[in-house]
């Protein structure tokens, strides 16, 4: 603490100067904003993947097909982009344009992406043809999780530092966190951070075996919630040191004021009863931001709508905020759970909450959870918002929290 304070003059503040997103509720930041403000969900029946579960699941699919994405991005026809890479590049490109970056190498720029499934969408279609079909073989090298990042880096011209994180559903929040830390340490001047995940049979069936997929639209924080809807998407933020952003005369969308990573160390998939990992992540993020709990105006919760997550997260929120619970909502009812991308998707929504001075509604909520009694925001709520907390938790106990501020 002491150090943070005394070093404040030399440690640069990290700002958001650009954003890009593609999700079930739209192919741009503007489209996502419109849908959020109109309380318009993107969850519906699955159309792009042939699965026997089609009748019994609902998902948040991105409207564009792979062909449409390829043509939008003007990629050559014989490319070996997976859907994860296409979504990632589409959103990252918007973020760079949104930040009005004309020459990517005018400042020392990095790319930190994240994914859980990597190239699985192509692998699961081609696995059994890998040994025989030359058309399939191009997807052998695109399977591993670093592939989409490398493709995005190459397209954007980021030649120096890039890396990929994979901490399940908290991945993109960790990418944002590393980006901010690298700028603060003076190792990068600008960094594109976020995550991407495409829907895949692999994850649909995986979550199905855990019996946590809802047949209906998901109901985060509701007593009768029946599980999550999977989604797909990608989102990226451009982070820069405040000094450079100001020098370049850029409009500052938000400040990255706090972040933290903790591990629940309880179970490979389930969250602990007292939400210890989530509690620590939120508390440490508040400490770094030097904010008191009551200064948080809105929480974009992880809220997957599984019985376990929402109860555990509610308990952790109560432990941090006591009886003074800020307005909170989960936006998973709009997009579904976009896994590795979720942290970045929701960071974009948190910046939009700051820009629009609006807390977005938690769709499909009807009755409060008996044990905790927490009631999320259920309608568009205009109010002064200075600080937003965004939570992301994943398998393996990985819990991360991010605080975005207006000033």
């Amino acid at each position: 603490m002491q150090n943070e304070q005394t070093n404040k003059n030399i440690v640069p503040r990290v700002v958001v100067t650009g954003m890009g997103i593609i999700s079930a509720i739209g192919n741009s930041v503007e489209a996502n904003k419109k849908a959020l403000l109109a309380s318009k969900s993107g969850i519906g029946p699955i159309s792009k993947i042939n699965t026997i579960h089609a009748e019994r699941i609902k998902v948040g699919e991105v409207i564009f097909s792979n062909d449409e994405l390829v043509s939008q991005l003007q990629l050559p026809e014989d490319n070996n982009f997976t859907r994860t890479a296409l979504l990632g590049l589409f959103a990252a490109k918007e973020a760079v344009e949104n930040a009005e970056i004309l020459d990517i190498n005018s400042y020392k720029t990095g790319l930190i992406s994240s994914t859980t499934v990597g190239g699985m969408d192509k692998t699961e279609q081609h696995l059994k043809q890998f040994s025989s079909s030359s058309e399939s073989q191009k997807y052998i090298s695109s399977h591993h999780a670093g592939d989409s990042t490398k493709k995005i880096a190459k397209y954007l011209g980021v030649n120096e530092f890039s890396t990929t994180m994979s901490t399940a559903c908290s991945s993109a929040t960790n990418a944002i966190m590393l980006g901010a830390r690298l700028i603060k340490a003076g190792k990068l001047e600008r960094v594109i951070v976020g995550g991407t995940d495409a829907l895949a049979k692999f994850t649909i069936n995986g979550f199905k075996t855990l019996m946590i997929l809802s047949e209906d639209v998901c109901q985060p924080f509701d007593e009768h919630r029946k599980g999550l809807n999977l989604g797909e998407g990608a989102a990226y933020l451009v982070l820069e040191s405040e000094k450079i952003a100001k020098k370049e005369g850029k409009s500052i969308m938000a400040y990255i004021s706090g972040y933290a990573n903790a591990n629940d160390a309880f179970h490979q998939t389930a969250s602990s009863e007292n939400g210890q990992g989530a509690y620590l992540a939120m508390q440490k993020a508040l400490n770094l931001a030097q904010l008191k709990p009551k200064q948080i105006d809105y929480i974009n919760a992880h809220g997957t709508a599984t019985p376990n997550n929402d109860l555990s997260e509610s308990i952790a929120i109560k432990r941090v905020f006591g009886n003074d619970i800020p307005d909170f909502s989960s936006t998973k009812g709009y997009t579904g759970h976009t896994l590795a991308a979720a942290g970045a998707v929701e960071a974009v929504y948190s910046v939009l909450a700051l820009q629009e001075q609006t807390a977005f509604p938690n769709l499909n909520f009807k009755s409060k959870i008996n044990e905790t009694g927490l009631i999320p925001v259920t309608e568009i709520k205009k109010k002064p918002i200075h600080h937003v907390l965004s939570n992301s938790f994943g398998f393996g106990g990985n819990c991360s929290a991010l605080i975005l501020s207006k000033e």
Partner: protein
């Protein structure tokens, strides 16, 4: 800026490195295309109840991590950071094949749960009941290096005093064959066997007697050979040294056509340094460079370069500063500086 000291390093590899009593004295020579690591007797380290859901990578990782903590006399690290190129590929293949074979019916969750890239880091945290910082990188052959960069940053930010870092990859049963098939069809594909391993190290801000220092690390995604030389010189200058300071260099030669990057660097800058290569012993995999990290630390500590890894006829001088260089297909370059 605070220094990073290496308090322990443990490697499970295709060589008999885990007991680490002799230093690559009796190397195992392989003719096979794929080689498994020399596994420890897992039951000596973790109970079968715990290992019953673990595939090779998770078991190797947890055991190597525990031994690294033991040597460093550390109960609870301030952070656990892992890197893995292919993640938990065995369980990924298992779940994927059961989806295909059973047409999405009668699937069970275990292999899906264990297939996520962060399983090793999570299982270590779970075993230690460690609530601290926990992260996993998966960026091809820069996976371990990314984890090291994060660890170095945590120590320098004063966010941590002791960090556990590891690189893990397992062979798996299917994907590796496809990758090898592609390599075999190339003009000059990877020549060394494909393999697996787990290397863990404890980094600390505390200076211990004889502790090797992780001076610095840099990764570069893309650069021409000429740019690479300039960037490397900048990197050395940033660390207040020039090429003459490098006593030995560990190179990631794997027999493919991109080995000329190693040659170019050594001929241009390091003709006087001892040159070391290792992938004929460790095999190639995304985190094979973590084996080089283990090797470099041992060379510095023991002041000895085993004959089996020496590439040129090195002179018998003391080795104070060592540089690791790895790349993959002319991309994803990494330089790691180690010092006594």
């Amino acid at each position: 800026m605070r220094d990073c000291y290496i308090h322990s390093v443990v490697s499970i590899s295709a060589q008999n490195t885990f007991p680490n009593e002799d230093f690559l004295l009796d190397v195992i020579k392989y003719n096979a295309k794929k080689i498994q690591a020399v596994y420890p007797n897992y039951k000596d380290f973790i109970s079968p109840v715990v290992t019953r859901r673990m595939q090779t990578g998770v078991k190797m990782g947890v055991v190597a991590a525990n031994k690294a903590l033991q040597i460093a006399k550390l109960n609870e690290p301030d952070a656990i950071i892992t890197g893995t190129g292919m993640g938990c590929i065995t369980d990924t293949e298992k779940f994927l094949n059961s989806i295909i074979d059973n047409d999405e019916t009668y699937l069970t969750p275990t292999s899906f749960i264990q297939s996520t890239h962060n399983t090793v880091g999570a299982q270590i945290a779970l075993g230690l009941k460690c609530n601290n910082y926990n992260n996993t990188y998966t960026h091809g052959s820069l996976s371990f290096e990314s984890a090291l960069i994060d660890a170095q940053l945590l120590l320098q930010e004063q966010g941590a005093r002791h960090v556990l870092v590891g690189g893990i990859d397992e062979l798996g049963t299917e994907f590796v064959d496809y990758v090898q098939m592609i390599e075999a069809n190339k003009n000059k594909g990877i020549g060394v066997p494909f393999s697996e391993g787990a290397t863990f190290t404890v980094l600390s801000t505390e200076k211990k007697e004889n502790a090797i220092k992780l001076q610095d690390i840099i990764t570069i995604s893309e650069a021409s050979k000429e740019e690479l030389i300039l960037k490397l010189e900048d990197f050395l200058a940033l660390n207040n040294m020039d090429v003459k300071a490098i006593d030995a260099i560990i190179l990631g030669d794997n027999g493919d056509m991109y080995d000329d990057y190693y040659e170019h660097i050594t001929i241009s800058l390091f003709s006087n340094a001892s040159q070391i290569k290792y992938k004929h012993l460790s095999g190639e995999f995304h985190t094979a460079s973590a084996f080089a990290f283990w090797l470099g630390i041992n060379v510095l500590q023991k002041q000895h370069i085993p004959a089996e890894v020496l590439k040129n006829s090195g002179e018998n001088k003391s080795i104070k500063t060592l540089l690791l260089y790895n790349q993959c297909k002319g991309k994803d370059h990494s330089f790691i500086l180690l010092k006594t």
